[in-house]
């Protein structure tokens, strides 16, 4: 009861508040540093755990693999046939795949889908997925596992993965002859990269999660195989592999269960394939984890950067939103003649993984869903990395807590008279009306930016009237809104108290956003925290001039659109060198509009949150901080400071 009845906890003259108020800059700064420090410590072996399998049902590697050289030969035969078909056939060699699947004895179906591209005047794309179901002899199609392989045309810009489908088929052929499967296997060949898998998943789940948009018409599936437990996506580049890279990051930073990742690690190690998360050629086989903090930190950072952009790294990434654990095995082709892993060992590992998954009695539910991989056999769990985000969030709440007290003190002195006079004659007579309206307007501006960008009609209008492309329209709409955001502070005339209320509101808003984002996608939340927390620390009325200048500069540099521009500049720098200044600017603008358009389209088709977070949270927050800062200048510059009576 002590906490509830003790006013000193949050009253003006209480001990805690006094201490906080005296050292607020130091404390907030310390929290910021502590968070970064904690993050650095995560690389130390005391802060991360070694990987283990907590789901006993998986029992990896307990069985002898039964796949034989015959399957390897079959895969090679399929590969030559496939390459031949791909040469002669435009698009997916559907008849060939269908024929092979039927020959193997699978229940074979095709799935057609249509994408009504939201921009560009009703462009329509179609695609076809092929899948074969191997019905489990031991159960009545209540559970299933998906093995998928994307089809990539030969002229694709991405790496050639021609071996995936042959290996998939070879595995299907050998699995067909076994009688111990307790889960239906779906062998799925998708096209159009992630679009295909998204359409298939939506169709499998009867319209899926975003069925109300009418953009991706996912069609219907003739057959299903129960609740999907897990999915394995294959991106095998050739018949002779150097190593296997395991990709885990999914849409919006979703990750597969850590047990699944560990399972793959164990099985591939058993088959003597060098495999791992962010595996590179340089990494040695079966090394124990590096004890060097720098190496670990580098590894953590690389995972954070991949996870933070919310884009899935492979087709597996779209499964996570449907509660299906999924990852991609990316087999990297051997460059030299010295081959490290052949088809047989890949097939053996796929078989091993399937036999383990076959043992599952319930959905993956043990182990961790929120983790950061330090190394292939070490990870950081949510309890260990969350303090970083919480320390950032604490800054915002401590700051607003103190501002609230300041406000109360001032209000006591004023005794509300000024506001009563100010409000007299107004219809609603609310105190701090300006700040509330400003807050609502900022959020409304974000909402309308979100709405306008996602609305195809706007781009059509611009396209018809001025002949703009979709990319340019999106970029121009965004720039218009940025302009409105810049004018925004001049529409309001806050006095000191209203400014304080506005600041408290924006601090709490950003605090809540940070907390929520870091729960949903820690990497993004943490990166945002690194850049947003200084805003929180320096957001204050009546500081000295140097601080104010620094603060203004920082706020302007932190504009979400500017941040996208930095990326655009970086991309352009990398791709083109020795450009004239004018060309460079043009290229940067193009890169910027491409990034923005991808954001919108990804949001519409896949439900990527990056665009929503930027428009609904970061953009309004920036406007609020910017207005507070600008008005603060105006207040100290002029005599608008309200006299305290």
């Amino acid at each position: 009861m002590g906490i509830l009845t003790d006013p000193s906890l949050s009253s003006n003259d209480g001990g805690i508040v006094k201490v906080l108020a005296q050292h607020k800059k130091k404390i907030c700064f310390l929290l910021y540093i502590a968070s970064l420090g904690w993050f650095c410590c995560l690389g130390m072996s005391d802060f991360n755990h070694s990987a283990y399998l907590s789901e006993n049902a998986l029992s990896p590697g307990l069985v002898y693999t039964e796949i034989t050289r015959d399957s390897e030969k079959l895969a090679q035969q399929y590969h030559t046939e496939f390459l031949h078909e791909r040469e002669n056939h435009k698009g997916t060699p559907i008849p060939w795949i269908l024929a092979k699947m039927k020959q193997i004895g699978l229940e074979t179906h095709t799935h057609n889908y249509t994408l009504n591209y939201p921009f560009g005047g009703g462009k329509v794309f179609t695609g076809t997925n092929i899948y074969g179901i191997l019905r489990a002899p031991r159960i009545g199609s209540t559970e299933g596992i998906v093995y998928s392989a994307p089809f990539r045309p030969k002229d694709s810009l991405e790496a050639d993965i021609s071996a995936s489908i042959p290996i998939l088929l070879a595995f299907a052929e050998s699995a067909r002859r076994k009688n111990y499967w307790a889960k239906d296997f779906i062998f799925l060949v998708t096209d159009n990269e992630q679009l295909g898998i998204q359409a298939w998943l939506e169709a499998y789940h009867l319209g899926g999660l975003q069925n109300d948009q009418g953009i991706l018409n996912s069609g219907s599936l003739p057959a299903r195989a129960g609740a999907l437990q897990a999915a394995l996506n294959l991106e095998i580049q050739g018949m002779e592999l150097d190593y296997i890279n395991v990709k885990v990051e999914g849409l919006n930073g979703g990750l597969p269960n850590l047990d699944y990742f560990n399972l793959v690690q164990r099985i591939t190690a058993k088959e003597r394939i060098s495999a791992g998360y962010k595996q590179t050629a340089g990494k040695m086989k079966y090394t124990t984890h590096s004890t060097k903090i720098e190496d670990n930190l580098k590894h953590i950072l690389s995972m954070i950067l991949t996870q933070a952009n919310c884009v899935p790294t492979g087709n597996h990434g779209l499964f996570h939103q449907y509660r299906i654990e999924a990852l991609t095995l990316q087999g990297i082709k051997a460059k030299s003649s010295h081959q490290r892993a052949g088809v047989l060992s890949v097939l053996k590992s796929i078989e091993g993984i399937s036999r383990s998954l076959n043992n599952l009695l319930e959905k993956f539910h043990q182990s961790f869903f929120f983790y950061i991989l330090v190394h292939n056999d070490r990870f950081i769990s949510i309890g260990d990395y969350m303090p970083c985000a919480i320390l950032f969030v604490a800054v915002f709440f401590i700051k607003s807590f103190l501002m609230w007290h300041d406000l109360n003190k001032k209000v006591d002195k004023w005794n509300d008279d000024i506001y009563d006079k100010k409000c007299e004659g107004e219809v609603l007579e609310i105190h701090y009306m300006q700040s509330i309206v400003a807050f609502a307007c900022a959020i409304g501006l974000g909402l309308s930016l979100n709405f306008v960008c996602k609305n195809g009609a706007v781009s059509e209008f611009f396209a018809v009237k001025f002949g703009f492309t979709t990319e340019n329209t999106v970029a121009i709409v965004i720039l218009c809104f940025v302009l409105v955001g810049l004018i925004f502070p001049f529409l309001f005339k806050f006095d000191e108290l209203e400014l304080k209320v506005l600041q408290i509101g924006s601090q709490i808003f950003v605090g809540c956003v940070l907390l929520t984002v870091s729960l949903l996608n820690f990497s993004l939340g943490f990166l945002l925290g690194i850049f947003l927390t200084p805003l929180g620390i320096f957001n204050e009325v009546g500081q000295n001039k140097v601080m104010k200048y620094l603060n203004s500069l920082y706020i302007i540099l932190c504009h979400p659109v500017l941040v996208i521009y930095y990326f655009a500049v970086a991309i352009t720098e990398q791709n083109f060198d020795n450009l004239a200044f004018k060309d460079f600017i043009e290229k940067v603008f193009m890169a910027f509009s491409n990034i923005a358009t991808y954001g919108v389209v990804d949001n519409l088709i896949y439900g990527n949150w990056m665009f929503s977070i930027t428009t609904l949270a970061l953009f309004p927050a920036w406007i609020l901080y910017f207005s507070a800062n600008l008005r603060d200048w105006a207040l100290s510059g002029s005599s608008r400071k309200v006299k305290v009576e």
């Binding site: 009861m1 002590g2 509830l4 009845t5 003790d6 006013p7 000193s8 906890l9 949050s10 009253s11 003259d13 209480g14 999660l209 979703g254 990750l255 996570h320 939103q321 509660r323 959905k363 539910h365 869903f369 929120f370 709440f397 607003s400 807590f401 609230w404 007290h405 005794n415 009563d420 004659g425 107004e426 219809v427 609603l428 007579e429 609310i430 709490i508 605090g511 809540c512 956003v513 907390l515 929520t516 729960l519 949903l520």
Partner: protein, 420 residues
Amino acid sequence: MSELKSIVLITCISFTIRFLAFSMKLREKMPAFTSVNSIKMSNEGIFLQEHNIDPYSGRLVHSMPITLMFEKLLATQLLKNVIFAILDSLTGILLFYGSKHYLVWKAKADSEIKKKFSSTVFENLDIVAKDLISIPKCVILFYSLNPILIVTSSNDNILCNFFYALTFYSLNSKKTTLALLSITFLFLDSIYAIVLLSPILVSMSGDKFKKIQKSILLVVFIGAFILINYGIFGSWSFIEGTIGFSIQSKNLQPNVGLYWYFFTEMFDHFRFLFLSSFQINATILYIVPLTLRLKRDPTILFIVLLGIITVFKPYPKIPEFCIVLSVLPIFKTFKKYMVHDFVVFSFFMISLSLLPSLWYLWIHTGAANANFFFGATLAFCTGQIFLITDVLFANIKRDFSIYNGSKYFKMLLKVKLLLK
């Protein structure tokens, strides 16, 4: 600006926002965090009844037969949206007039006490003339523009909120029979509303006999109301579906309450013991002490009891708590003593932003688990309890300074009350 004009303006705004939100089906898209009467469930009930299936047989529907019939009468979706938007705006108006009556009464009661004890003026503790308009205006604004309320309240919640507001209004304007009638309506939705009889009895000026009379009247009302429902529905299965449902609390679907998590962990043979103690906690445990303590101010008693019900009942609904939140401005008289305002506010902000995201992570992607969501729920409930406690202690402090004069005002701001 005249009072009427601003009420009309606010009501119009409130109606427009609600109508737009209902038409855009925002309520269907939001997770409602409740096992009872979310918008989907009431739609289910109407659908089942239209197809001649007993809606209560599936343990999904918990609306009263009379509300089901009411919704069925409003045949089209458009009409439904309009009527319920109007009802919810009316709730705001009822709260406005209720709090106005309260403030007038409170000012009078205060001046009488001050005549007896001390004649000092309390600048921060008194109700002044302008408060009589500005505070009720705050109340109606808080209710009308609360975004959480708009996106979480189903049609059933709107009806219930209307009757809660009606109780609040009739309690303050001393219309006892009306108050009893609205409690009767609330009773079938959740039996815990019966607790609210206590502030009504306290507010009556009559003798004991009259109070007993009124209590019997309530029982008669409830009996009659149940009979009416039976007449409409034609079977007794609705008793099991409405009253029986919240007494037994068998449904452990996650919600913002404290029961589901506890009872999923519970061994079955302890269930009865803990269920009864939980139910006692939600109903009769606090009535007597709080009534004794707050008998001079039945409205505060009403709000505090309502707050306690909404925290401790098995299937709490966020819209109900929004009523408590919206009438908070009437506590302006002891606002100075409510020291935890910021803490409570941030508790609500954090938990309300975490609840939907953790719900998504747990129910949709399956990555998080029950503990995450319950953590946020616990924070939400802790915030509510902090708020109620803060109100109670602040009220005690205000009473003390009213009786003992303003010299204690400053001192009391820092005083820590101890329970001994």
